[in-house]
């Protein structure tokens, strides 16, 4: 069956971007909103159809999900090493198509309400479409180089959208920070790609990931500093993934990225772009698993677990609700990385891989919902800070209910979506690495606690003095909330393991009751603690915070990661390295060149008086010269 129509899925948003971008000033805002929404709607319908076609009609042959590739050669280096452009259809790319489509469509619809009356309305939709195009391209990439190109494109669209309020200095700084930090991590990615290409002779995912292929079988052929070069390449590629997915220590850009408009946070910094790192590791999963017996995969697991724990602790102390959500995103991304890290390959062993993708799917829904809900609240009270909120449940019933559903889903209460995926992650961790399991279960408790801390803080607690009486958002904003809430409710019931698994065979996942009971218990403890602390305004929370003393302050200052980066860049790099180089460049290199130029100008100033502009002077010089020459010749002749 023909799958080439899938190429339209990225191309439609690209066309929308070009249309809105080129005719930015000529299109009325109302029209541009519809163009954006309908473009995405078309892509979304195609994505859902592709998913249906793939999973139920053509995908499965003899019980194994096939990989379909439709590509053309773009650049050819040698007989084997070439860069293709094309689309790759396999379970995870189709799953990502669905995620990107749904969240992006919802965010487009939501933005029509949220951005109403904003000066750059059309520009905003153009950027959103550019992002959707890049994300689809990233998901469908057939080789490392193609994924890298779209990787940078999503980085650029993220930069453009974080800096959307470009008159605000903090937004500009955040945009630059996000771009530079991820770009720095992408340097690792690029080096990794080049090493991989050099030693395996291919960039192609299919060839690389084949467990019987030469790339995996010959991993031990060359080694460097005690590890296989392929492992080094994978670790470098993972650095790129860690940068995009805000893993330690590249997470510093994500909280600042919240300066962008809230729909952008929901789409890019919660549901889609930030999972690109997870997707990349999942895309190369057979390599990570087989090369050097999973050494790189272990690193992935620990980086994920530590990031998850770190972010959950910081999230408890933040007072800006969007920042709480940002750290929560980072924590959940860590969870997914961790699940990939503890995964095996065959059948039920691959439960971590499947759980990670499952969590990616459910997390996209409920985290987008949380952000959009937070945006709705911010829209109503015009503040990001918890201290300005309280008792909003009476004014915003729909936001309240949907936010509660999302909070329960992320906390992991059955039967909401998060419970199912989180349970699988914990099962995988329990079976493979007990230490990571304990971290995971602790983070689950923290997640429930900080999420209900902001839930109670926003919707319960003491009512604040509001300048304008807050009111429920318009339908264009509440419809996406309700739709995503529905998905957060039922999303977990999808038999995900049948569709997505590491070896593409599919297996039947069962609920592990004792582990599920522990997880739910921990989650309940977190919720109850939050209920005691924050449902009614009381001093208990402050007392506990004081009891933790300096640790609380460290956490609320995000463990000084920003300060460490500033110290390294400003004090060491700029002052000790860049400044002397700049001095050499300015004084020595520029000095020489400018000296030559200056001398030329000086000389010409001195002799330009000869050009008097009087024809007779020139004639005199000419005749005089001729006469002198004639005399010289005559003199020479006669002697």
């Amino acid at each position: 069956m023909d799958i080439s129509y899938i190429i339209l899925i990225p191309l439609i948003p690209l066309a929308v971007f070009l249309l809105l971008g080129i005719f930015n000033q000529k299109i009325k805002p109302a029209v541009s909103g519809y163009v954006g929404v309908f473009g995405l709607l078309a892509s979304g319908i195609l994505s859902l159809y592709a998913a249906y076609q793939y999973f139920f009609i053509i995908g499965k042959v003899d019980g194994v999900y096939q990989t379909f590739v439709d590509k053309t050669v773009w650049m050819k280096f040698t007989e084997t090493l070439q860069i293709d452009m094309g689309i790759l259809i396999d379970p995870i790319s189709v799953m990502m198509l669905v995620v990107v489509s749904i969240v992006s469509l919802m965010v487009h619809i939501y933005s029509r309400g949220y951005m109403k009356g904003d000066g750059g309305y059309t520009k905003f939709f153009a950027f959103l479409s550019l992002f959707s195009f890049s994300m689809y391209g990233l998901v469908l990439a057939t080789n490392l180089f193609q994924i890298y190109m779209f990787w940078e494109l999503v980085g650029v669209s993220s930069y453009l959208l974080i800096g959307y309020y470009y008159t605000k200095p903090s937004a500009v700084a955040a945009a630059k920070k996000a771009f530079i930090v991820t770009r720095f991590a992408d340097l690792g990615f690029l080096i990794g790609i080049l090493i991989m290409g050099y030693y395996t002779g291919t960039f192609d995912f299919e060839t690389l990931n084949n467990p019987e292929g030469s790339a995996i079988l010959n991993w031990a052929s060359t080694s460097f500093m005690g590890l296989s070069v392929i492992t080094w390449a994978l670790l470098l590629i993972f650095i790129g993934g860690a940068g995009k997915s805000a893993m330690l220590p590249f997470h510093i850009w994500l909280p600042d990225a919240m300066e962008g408009p809230t729909p952008v946070s929901a789409l890019i910094h919660a549901a889609t772009m930030v999972v690109a790192g997870i997707y990349l590791v999942a895309r190369l999963f057979p390599m990570f698993y087989f090369v050097e017996h999973g050494f790189a995969l272990n690193i992935v697991a620990y980086v994920g677990a530590i990031s998850s724990l770190f972010a959950a602790i910081v999230a408890i102390t933040q007072t800006d609700i969007k920042r709480v959500l940002a750290f929560s995103t980072m924590s959940q991304l860590g969870y997914m990385m961790m699940a990939l890290g503890v995964s095996g390959y065959d059948g039920h062993e691959g439960v971590g891989y499947m759980a990670s993708m499952f969590h990616l799917f459910t997390h996209a829904m409920f985290k987008a919902l949380l952000f959009l809900g937070a945006g709705s609240v911010i829209h109503a009270v015009h503040s990001n800070y918890l201290k300005d909120m309280g008792g909003l449940r009476k004014y915003m019933p729909i936001t309240n209910i949907t936010f509660l559903i999302a909070a329960l889903a992320i906390a992991g209460m059955p039967p909401f979506a998060g419970f199912w995926s989180k349970d699988e992650i914990l099962v995988a961790a329990f079976e493979h690495n007990k230490l990571i399991y304990y971290i995971g279960i602790f983070v689950a408790g923290l997640t429930a606690f900080y999420m209900f801390r902001i839930y109670f803080g926003i919707f319960w607690g003491k009512e604040k003095e509001y300048e304008h009486k807050p009111k429920e958002s318009p339908l264009s904003m509440t419809f996406p909330l309700m739709f995503l809430a529905l998905l957060s409710l039922v999303g977990g019931l999808i038999p995900f393991s049948e569709f997505v698994s590491a070896d593409k065979v599919g297996f039947e996942a069962h609920l592990n009751y004792p582990l599920a009971a522990i997880a739910v218990g921990v989650c309940l403890v977190g919720i109850i603690l939050a209920w005691v602390f924050y449902k009614k305004e009381n001093s208990l929370a402050d007392k506990w915070a004081n009891a933790f003393g300096p640790f609380y302050i460290w956490a609320s200052d995000k463990f000084y990661f920003d300060e460490i980066y500033l110290f390294i860049t400003k004090k060491i790099l700029f002052k000790r390295v860049s400044a002397p180089i700049a001095w050499f460049d300015k004084k020595v290199v520029d000095g020489t060149m400018e000296g030559i130029g200056n001398k030329t100008v000086l000389t010409s100033k001195k002799i330009k008086g000869l050009q008097s502009g009087k024809v007779q002077d020139y004639a005199f010089a000419f005749v005089g010269g001729t006469v002198i020459l004639a005399l010289v010749f005559i003199y020479l002749w006669t002697n």
């Binding site: 330009k608 050009q611 502009g613 009087k614 024809v615 007779q616 004639a619 005199f620 005749v623």
Partner: protein, 105 residues
């Protein structure tokens, strides 16, 4: 061949004529006078052609034809120069050479 006048006398005459022209070209302040000086230089060369034709190759006519040719070109050139001078006069109300040095440096 003219009796009693050698080729040297005639060449001396044209040389003197030529340098009078050059002197006038360099020292005159008025553009019209400069134009007249240029004509003197041209005439000196025309006479040279005729003289050399007559004294050295008396059975040929190229020098004479060249002279006629040069006279025609000189006429055209004079017409051009005068029209330039007139147009210049309309612009700056002067035909003094000192007023036409805007193109220096």
């Amino acid at each position: 061949m003219i009796d009693g006048i050698s080729i040297y006398d005639l060449l001396t005459l044209t040389t003197i004529l030529f340098f009078i022209g050059v002197y006038g070209f360099i020292t005159r302040k008025n553009l019209i006078s400069i134009l007249i000086s240029v004509e003197l230089i041209l005439n000196a060369s025309v006479v040279n052609f005729v003289v050399i034709n007559k004294y050295l190759y008396p059975d040929m006519l190229q020098g004479v034809y060249f002279s006629i040719f040069i006279i025609a070109v000189a006429a055209a050139e004079t017409a051009l120069a005068v029209s330039i001078i007139i147009s210049l006069y309309r612009q700056i109300n002067s035909v003094e050479v000192k007023d036409t040095e805007v193109m220096k440096y």
